[in-house]
Symmetry: C2
Subunit: 319 residues, 2 copies
């Protein structure tokens, strides 16, 4: 067990993922209450909302007001998502937004084309504009994501070389400017990852860039998310994205909707980590309370497990 990390860092994506995924628009008070609850759990980074076209994503139309209403907590970054320069400028002009730059790359040409209208190589070139924009705004580039790193519903299996090609581009691009290397996230965008695939990809990236901090963005689409999380821990991965209560998907949405599940459930992986002696800095009971609040807001059962069964502290107490 000596190869497990002592401590991991989990970034919370539930509010943005969840409230954007749902077609209903939930009262702002309730959304603010969820973010405020999450800010008290020990989480260090919470993605709150997106600055995107309000005609296409009306759920996010009040992102600026949302940020304006949340209670800031020292040491907790409240981050935002944007898809173009206009969205970034709106986020930059909004109080309470902690700006974090992200480089976004694709291991699948077909998925890049669907999401961005250009292939993976063209996505790389677009990142030059983003790097320039973040430089001009003085925003640090915290993370580089390789999307569809485990498989693609449009393209099928993704070879490891398609992942390492993107990682090589990141490393060369950042070394060329003598910039600090961002954390490199392998994103299982559509839920294909299984543990051995995690081991092979993390191993390949580590061979290529031994000094890189590697992160995983996992979706629990097919029930292997928690197992892939464990495989990543065994490979020494210390950075994860998660979604409180499994927000951001509807895992019971009916067959043949291949993208129906959210990120791995934050409190479930926090539980697993703590039980294995790995610190997260997160108060599990407080996080479970936040998950139950999320479920009350959404108004239907969410996919998280431990929020429904409870942690083990009460069974151990007094023994």
């Amino acid at each position: 067990m000596s190869d497990l990390p002592k401590r991991i860092e989990i970034h919370e994506e539930g509010p943005r993922e969840g409230f954007q995924f749902e077609t209903r628009i939930f009262p702002l008070d309730e959304r603010v209450a969820l973010v405020d609850a999450l800010s008290q759990t020990g989480l260090k980074q919470i993605q709150v909302a997106s600055f995107v076209n309000p005609k296409r994503v009306p759920q996010m139309a009040d992102a600026a007001e949302f940020f304006g209403r949340i209670r800031k907590v020292p040491g907790v970054a409240h981050t935002a998502l944007w898809l173009n320069a206009q969205g970034f400028r709106q986020a930059a002009a909004t109080p309470n937004v902690d700006l974090k730059g992200t480089v976004l790359l694709y291991a699948s040409d077909a998925f890049a084309r669907q999401n961005n209208g250009c292939d993976a190589a063209a996505m790389q070139r677009q990142q030059e504009d983003w790097i320039r924009l973040y430089d001009e705004a003085g925003v640090p580039i915290q993370a580089a994501y390789v999307m569809t790193a485990f498989g693609c519903n449009l393209q099928g299996d993704i070879p490891i070389s398609a992942v390492t090609d993107q990682v090589r581009w990141i490393v060369e691009r950042f070394r060329a400017d003598s910039r600090p290397l961002p954390a490199i996230y392998l994103a299982d965008t559509v839920g294909w990852a299984v543990p051995t695939a995690v081991e092979r990809r993390v191993g390949a990236v580590r061979d290529l860039v031994p000094e890189a901090r590697i992160g995983l963005h996992l979706h629990d689409t097919r029930g292997s998310g928690p197992a892939s999380f464990y495989a990543a821990l065994r490979m020494g991965v210390e950075l994860f994205d998660g979604s409180v209560a499994g927000l951001g998907g509807c895992p019971f949405a009916g067959h043949a909707n291949g993208a129906a599940a959210g990120n791995v459930c934050t409190e479930d992986i926090v539980f697993m980590a703590h039980e294995m002696g790995i610190q997260t800095g997160i108060d599990l009971d407080a996080l479970i309370d936040a998950a139950l609040l999320a479920e009350r807001i959404i108004g239907r059962p969410l996919g998280g497990r431990i929020m429904h069964s409870g942690a083990l502290g009460r069974f151990r107490a007094g023994r």
Copy 2:
């Protein structure tokens, strides 16, 4: 990856667990249809029903008729559960029941007392009666279960020595008669297992009895079930219990019900195994169809993941 088994065997417990867990009694036609569907998936062992007190468990009152109506398939064992000699004799007198003897031991005194009114040592002594009964009936003893092997809601943490003490009893008892050793199952009866706990317990049992076939009975109560399954595979475990669609629990049943989740979901672990190159002998698509049938019968969303998201074959087809 060389330490993963080439092939595993999964025993299906969904029909018995599921229809016993639900308070409603479902039409016999529907229950029979589920078992018949499961019998066509490649599963080699399916637990169909219990022979127990119909006043206490009315859902199982028609167990004999249930067995009488299922379609037998060569190579598929249809097993039953019983809790006392009367139940066993009913099962033995019922056509279509494949009798498999099981020895049942507890790592937790408190749990043994709650379930059986006697402590773990007295449960050992009771097993003598069962061994005699199975011998008289010519029924092979296939498995020995150590219940609450990972923790107990009544007693708290369970030390590994409490597990190995029970295993030692099994080994000595069977060696004394020069009997073949049954498969030794570690049962996470109330859902405390995490991967490192699996590794430690399986390792300890293997150190004690290198020749034993070890099995795991996991519940996905707190989201670590699939990760514990993977940890067991890494330890070379080849025998698992599972529940189609996650039948046998209601993982969304509300907080503080510490036993609300069923076994690990059979088709989810079959998917994970296949994606990692491990054979199960099971047709995943047929099993997913059976899971969807189970959900239609139960009439509310069940906890399985891949039954709602779909397997990957269609994304790979034609590439």
